[in-house]
Structures are given as structure tokens and as C-alpha cells.
Symmetry: D2
Subunit: 285 residues, 4 copies
């Protein structure tokens, strides 16, 4: 799981065809690449092939030449590939409101190097979490929401995302619904944490809903955002037992840990190139 400092990651997906594994592994072999972990899966219900390979490149490895050769080979298969160099740290923008537990957790994990990312900015509709971001040396952008002109605020948010070159946006308890336009723009690269085991308890105040229902388990769901509120493809879910002694505020407290762990897990999967999105479901290799 941990990689040596010279490990590359290659991922690809394509329609299910004879030879999809071979075209990748043969090319790697011919280029002198040493495969350390290989996982592929062919989804027989949607006829789609997914592959993820970790490999060590030989001395004198030429990245752009490798890419060109690869594309030439895999194009007949309709295959999309992604190559991630050793030591790559993706740029990430985190969106928050007032709750700080997920932000605190992600900042900590970046700080100790557990997640291979560079948090480029924290964006919020509230000023509250600025000191936390600042202490970690991360720029903080406070864009208040004007209820009469939400698009204006979203344009500001999007500007930061684009300027930062972020490839991932993390909604770490950002308590606003994004517009369909922004959802489309961020399709496949924005992860939200919802504080329930979706599809149960969509929408507002899920812990209060869970209390009313009298569930014996509470959980959290990290998912890609899409147009349909709380309906985006699920990446990770976490859960913990509860009982009758848990009032709504106890569920909220318990939920904090689950949310942090579940979101961090999903972000880690994304950054390690484990997540493939297809037909509203994810494959996590």
C-alpha cells in the first residue's frame, strides 16, 4: 500500500474488450516498468473495464514518450488513461461553513503527509474557520452568501478553484446546496460528506431524522456531488452503533468522528487514483 518514492500509478478504463489487460501490461513490460501492484475489474453488468497499476520505472524513463506510446496502443480500445508521477501531490480546495471537524482532520492529515495533497485554499461562506486555516498556512477565502445573488458567490468560489489549479474540491461540511451549473462544472472532481448512511436521511438535519426513526446505527457517506441532492455516486461510507441514550446532540457528536474518517478515506482513494466513476456508481480499486 505504501509506495516507494519512485512508484508511478497508471489507471485506465474502457469498454469491455478482449485484450484490455494485455495491452496495458504488455506495454509496461516493453517499457521496462516493474509492476508492484495490479488490480483490474471487468463489470459484467455494464460491460466496462477498470484497471489500476502501480509500477517502478526504469532508469532513463521518459514520461512524455511513455504517454505517447501508451495512447497509441490503447486508443483502439477506446481506453482513457491517467498517469501519476512519483511524489505527485494533487492541489485541493476545501469548502467549509462553520463546522470545523472535517477541515481540522484534513489539515492534520496533510500536515503529517498522510494524504498526498496540497491544500491550495479553504473557501467558506463564513469567516469562522479562518484562524484554523491560517495556522496551517493555508489561504482562506470568505465569500459571504447574498441570498439575492447566489450565482455571484459561486463565481467567486469557482474563480479560486480555477486559479488554484485544484483538481479536487472537497465539501467538508459546506452547508449550501451548489447550483446545477457548479455541479456540472465540478462533475467527477468534487467530494461531499453527508452525515447519514445514504440513501437514508437525505437533506437537512439527518441526525435529527435518525433520532426520530430510532436507528441503532448512524453513519456518513462520502460521495461525488451531482445535480441530484445527496444522490451522487458513493465513494465511502462509515458507521457506528448507537442506542436509545443518544439524543440528537449525541448523534451529532458521534457523527463527527465518522464523518472525518469517511471523508478522509474517500479523499485518500481519490488522490491515490483508486476511484473510477461510471453509471452513477464507483469502482474503487
Amino acid at each position: 500500500m505504501s509506495r516507494t518514492p519512485d512508484t508511478w500509478i497508471l489507471t485506465a478504463h474502457s469498454p469491455s474488450l478482449l485484450g484490455t489487460v494485455d495491452v496495458v501490461t504488455r506495454y509496461l513490460f516493453e517499457q521496462g516498468c516493474y509492476v508492484t501492484e495490479h488490480h483490474s475489474f471487468d463489470d459484467r453488468l455494464v460491460n466496462r473495464f477498470f484497471i489500476r497499476v502501480e509500477f517502478r520505472a526504469p532508469e532513463g524513463f521518459d514520461e512524455s514518450q511513455f504517454r505517447m506510446g501508451l495512447i497509441e496502443r490503447v486508443t483502439p480500445f477506446g481506453m482513457h488513461t491517467e498517469l501519476t508521477p512519483p511524489g505527485y501531490r494533487a492541489k485541493v480546495v476545501i469548502m467549509v461553513s462553520k463546522s470545523d471537524h472535517c477541515l481540522n482532520d484534513l489539515l492534520y492529515r496533510q500536515r503529517i503527509g498522510q494524504l498526498p495533497m496540497e491544500i491550495a485554499a479553504v473557501v467558506s461562506n463564513h469567516p469562522d474557520l479562518e484562524p484554523l486555516a491560517r495556522w496551517h498556512g493555508i489561504p482562506y477565502h470568505h465569500f459571504p452568501l447574498d441570498p439575492r445573488d447566489k450565482p455571484a458567490q459561486e463565481r467567486q468560489v469557482l474563480q479560486v478553484i480555477e486559479d488554484s489549479g485544484a483538481e479536487l474540491v472537497v465539501l467538508a461540511r459546506y452547508m449550501q446546496v451548489l447550483s446545477p451549473e457548479l455541479c456540472r462544472t465540478l462533475d467527477g472532481r468534487a467530494i461531499n460528506i453527508h452525515h447519514s448512511l445514504l440513501p437514508g436521511f437525505k437533506g437537512a438535519k439527518p441526525y435529527h431524522q435518525a433520532y426520530q426513526k430510532g436507528v441503532k446505527l448512524v453513519g456518513a457517506t462520502a460521495h461525488f456531488i451531482n445535480n441530484d441532492l445527496d444522490e451522487g455516486p458513493i465513494i465511502a461510507q462509515g458507521v457506528e452503533p448507537v442506542d436509545h441514550t443518544h439524543y440528537p446532540e449525541d448523534l451529532i457528536a458521534k457523527g463527527r468522528d465518522i464523518e472525518c474518517l469517511t471523508l478522509a478515506k474517500a479523499v485518500g482513494y481519490f488522490l491515490e487514483r483508486r476511484v473510477f466513476l461510471h453509471a452513477n456508481r464507483t469502482v474503487v480499486l
Copy 2:
């Protein structure tokens, strides 16, 4: 948790009032009863008090006298009490269709004495599971469903329940919706196992729904039945992680173990007098 062979169980519930704990514990003390475990909970949102006590009775303990004295004491509190003698084994009727995993599991647990129950009968709308029941020496009643006269079959079922003196009915993957009348009759004493984490995936084929949704956890819910399909008060829930390699049939296979364990846990709670039902939620002491 395990009890000595001379241990009684006393449970009670009442409106929240000063003195509810004291009236119970004082009486037990005065009667020379030795409390080995005591758990009480006062739900401040619904103002209801719940208590469960395990105790050893003194020599010469007179059950009926104890009961009378108790009722006299607790009546001013509007308290309902239930007293369960040492070694008591509740009569249970199990309802099944064709799936045998939950039945197999419950029969096994009865056989080794892990659940303090006597399975009085197995009732089914199919003949398939008769050999399994017979091998364990349990009467099996096959009441086929006539779609034009479902009430007729339900009357047969209810007859068995009443004749057997069952205080608990377990729907161990009984794949028919009970009529509102039967639900009412069995109110608070019929436990169903639903193969999803309610309130997610109500109704038919929950594992197929879960597959479509792409969840990363599947679970099961044991709940009291009521009029509202899959909406009865929850007693226990179980869960296991799954991933993209789980096709619907894999979720079904994985779910079998969760269903068995979750149903057995709920039945055990009921038999040990741990479950209190109030306002569509359960307190499990």
C-alpha cells in the same frame, strides 16, 4: 450478562416522576431481593421512565405475593411491570417462506440453549423448510396462500399462534405483507428482519436497490412490525462493508450472515426482557 439459575428479571416503565427508581429498588430491598444488575433510563424528550433489574430472590420467596405487593406500590406511578422467573423460556412461533438461513440459525441457537425460548411451531406459506424444522423436532405448518383469500390463511396462522401460547412471533424472512388486522393483533410481539439498513431500501429486493445505488455498506434491520411497511420500531441493526465486486447475488450472500446475527440479537433482547417500546422507538436496556 449470564445469569445464575436463580435470577429473576423485573422490568417496568411509567411516566417520568420523582420516585420511580426508588419505588422499585426499595420494594426489592424490603422483600430481601439481591440486585445483581440494574439499568434505568429516563427519556427526557418523551418524559418516560424505563427500568430493568436482575435479582436473586431470598429463600421462601412467594411470587404471587411479591407481584401483588409490587402492583400496590407502583400503581400510583402509573407503572407497568413485568416479572420473569428464573429459567423461563418464552414460547415462540417462527414464520418463514423459502429462505432458510434465519430459521436454521434460530433453530441452532435454541438447540444449544443460547436463546431462552421454546420454538412452539414453524409456520410457512411454502412446504420447503419442513424437513429442517422436523429434524429439530418442531411442528411445521404449511398454510399456502390463496391470493383470492389471504385473510383465510392469516386466520390459520393466527390460530397456531394462539393455540401455541406464543408470546413472540418471529418473521424470519417471511415474504408476505401482513394485513393491518394481523399487525394490530401482534402489535409489540412480532419481530421482522428486513434485509436493508432501514429507512434505506424499503420494500422489495433491497439488495438489488443497494446494488443500483452503489452503496459501500449493506445491512439488516430487526424491527417490530406495524401497519406501516418496514417502518416499525427498530430493535437492532447490523452492517458489513461491500465494494464494487459485489453483484446483487453477492450482496444477498453477504446479507445472509448479517440477517441471521441481527435477528438473533433482537430476539435475544426481547427474550431477556431488554426491549421497551414507546412512541415508535425502542429502549434496549
Copy 3:
């Protein structure tokens, strides 16, 4: 579980005797105290009784008078009692070395009020974590270890503990073995987190031991310290699945979350007066 702001906690333990529950609950009733949660347990193998009660006091409640009356009543039972007022926050000293994950986690939980404590000081044999403590406004004491005079450093540590009035010392990955003298001094009020599922993998580098052994689960154990290295009474344990892809550094990374959660749980139990220590085991009510 969450308490109203006017909730008291009363705990007690004594030899097993008829009337132990009654003496407590009757006194509470007579004083007009309203019991919201009550849990008692009688350990039949060691003949010891444990009780924990949460209650709301009546108007005009006089704490010292209540205490005096209580002691008078329970003394014949050889009962030790502890009364914790509403809103009480225990003073805690945290000891660390270089790893910051548990410290970071505890500071965060204090900051948001999830753990009812006041961290009075952080003590370390290294200077590394001072900025973290300072940012949270907590005094940091760096007492380097002189290998030729360990007792000198321990005296400094103990001085801080005593000066601060700490009732709990948390060894949040403090990588030094305490002397038998200090262990005795802190008996029953110092919690350590060990990064394995004790009694497996005692001593140094437990994750490396776990890797060598090829375990499929790793965990952490929060326990009271005592003279016997990693043998103190266990308060809480946590666990997560691992597999062959986890090299030792992966186990270490995975372990961080488990250690944080397990230590926080144990500290929470202690602060909420749930932990009773007897015969090298704990009762957690």
C-alpha cells in the same frame, strides 16, 4: 447520554451486600433528586458492587449537606462514593514525546467541548510539539531526559502534575517507561495508549511485530498504567482490518486513527465517571 446542564453524577462501589442499591436510590429520593440514568452491576466473581447514577438536584440543593448525609448512610456498607457537580471539568495533564496525533485529537476535542476537561499542561521529553500546544493556549513543559538521572526528570513531571491539580494524566504516545515510583503515585489516574491489541504485541514497535506475525487486524488499547509494562487494566480497545498490502508504515498510519479514537473514548469514560477499577480489571458503566 448528553446531560442537561443541571445534571450531577454519583458513583460508588462497595463489597456485595444486600441493600447497596437501595441505600443509594433511597437517599437520592429523600433528597428530592431526580434520577435520569442509573446503572449498577454486581460482579459475582469478585463480590463487588458498582453503581453510577445521573440525577438532577432540586432547587436549594446543598452539596456539602448532601455529601455528609450520603457518607453517613453508606459507611456501614463500606461504600466509597464520588459526587461530580454539573459542568465540572477535570484538570488533565497530557504527556507526549514526538508523535502528535493523539495530542492533536485531544486538544481538538477539548476545544469543541466534546470532552469535559481542562488541559492544564502538556509535558514532553522533546520540544517538538510546543507550537501545537501553544496554538491551543496550553502551557507546554519540555523536560529533556538525562539518561543518567531519569528520576530528576520524573520529579519535574510530577511537580507539574501536582501544581496543576490534575486528577488525570494522559500518556498520549509518551515513549518512555515510567518508574515504578511514578506508576504508584499515579495509580488509577494515568491512562496510556498502547498501539496494539494487548496482550498481543507488548513492548516496543508493536506494528512491526504485527507485520511480522501477519495479523489481519490491528488495534490499540487504552489502559491504566501500572508497574507491569503494558499490563495495566484495560479501559477501551479499538481495531481495524488490515491485509497483506499493509507494510509496517501502513500499519502505523492506520493505527493513528485507532489510537486517537480509543484514547479519546477511554478519557471520555474516565471524565464521565464511568470507569471503576478493581482487581486489575475495569467496570465501565
Copy 4:
């Protein structure tokens, strides 16, 4: 995870060498085999390569020709391969003493087809479980232990194993230590369930040991047997939380479910060709 009825499994392992993945995947491609799942792992600490592939063969696929060609290709890599045809059900011998929970569980799973095995025989040093085996139509061999001649009994056991053609022996709570000779003979093909989280609580009465230690988690370990008691390579482990109310008999009861699930999981891994054994650790692909 579930396989179509025409799915083959190919597994292999070898020293770590450039081209190990390629030699397998290229051959599969050349033979017209369609890979549906592929998992390989290169252990960089022991320099060993492991691979598991599921594939569908083309029409007219000739198994023996495929095998011959494969061996020719992989021999230069020092690679050991194993090919498992669609629908293959391995023969298994189960050894038991008096406890029936694991046997009951395995018989059930065979019966519903959840584990692709054919239980060829049940062998025991006690007569107790014969009715259970018989009801499932499985031959039962009772070989009592003569303490003065244990080798004699082991010869009988081994005879059954060999006559049955079993490739796997499952010690489903067989409470006798096997001789070093039998351990050697069954090396890599006998799975034992030990009722603790190894390496904690080796040897006799682990639940009593766990009670004494006051652990807050109990578990079970399924492992290959070897000469060193309870020290064989671990395949799977399971765990559940417990607390102070669990007396030793409660741990035993709780442990039954964990043992069943953990053993079934390990047996399933073995039968699905997921388990590789190397240097006293397992790789489970």
C-alpha cells in the same frame, strides 16, 4: 465477486522479476481468454510475486494444452501456477470434537452452495456430532483417542483424508494438538480456528484468559496449522466488542458467532484460490 458458470481461476507466485505479470496476461490474451478480475501483488520486503486472475475461456478451450503452454512460458520465472476449472468443488475433510457450532455452520454453507466445496467426511475423536453430519448426508468417522497411542488415531485420520482425496482439512474446533508429523503432512492445507485474537491468548481456555485480562474485544483467528502451536500463518481474524458484564461463559457464547464467521471466511478464501502462503504470512488476493 460472484462468477459466471464458465469462469476459470488462475493463480501463480514466483520470485519478483520483471515480466511476471506480462508472462501471465500475455499468455491469457494469446489463448483468447477474457480476464474479468485480476489482482497481483509484489511483496517488496520478501521479493515475492503473487497473482490471481479470473477469466472466461473461449469456445473450444483445451485445458491440458493450456496448462502445458502455460508451464512452458512461466518456468523461466520459477513460477508455480494453479488452474481451477469452472464449477470446481474442492473435497474437504472436517475435524471436530464436541463443539458443533463451526461444523453446523460449514454444513449449512455447503448445503446452500455458498462455499464451493464437497465435504467428503467428518472426523472426530468423539461420537457426539454424528447425527448432525448424517442429517446432511456426510460420512462420519469416530476415532477415539487412546492416550497411550495417539499416533494410531492420527493414522486413521490421515487414512480418511487420503482416501477422500481431500485437498483441505478444516479443524472446526478439534480440541487435540496434532503431532508434528501430521502437521508436516498437512502443511499448507489444514486450517484451524483458534478462539482468540492471536498472538494473544494462545493455548487452552482463551476466553477464560481473556476474561482474566479484562479485554474489551474478543476475537477468533483462522490460520494454517504448523508445528508451532497456534503460531501458523493467519488467514482471517474476526472481533467483537465485549464489556465487564461478560463472564467467561458469555465470552464463549459471543465467540461462537465470531468463530463461525471467521472460519467460513478463511475456508472461502482458500476455496476461491485467494490464499498464498509465504514466509509464515499469507497474501489474500
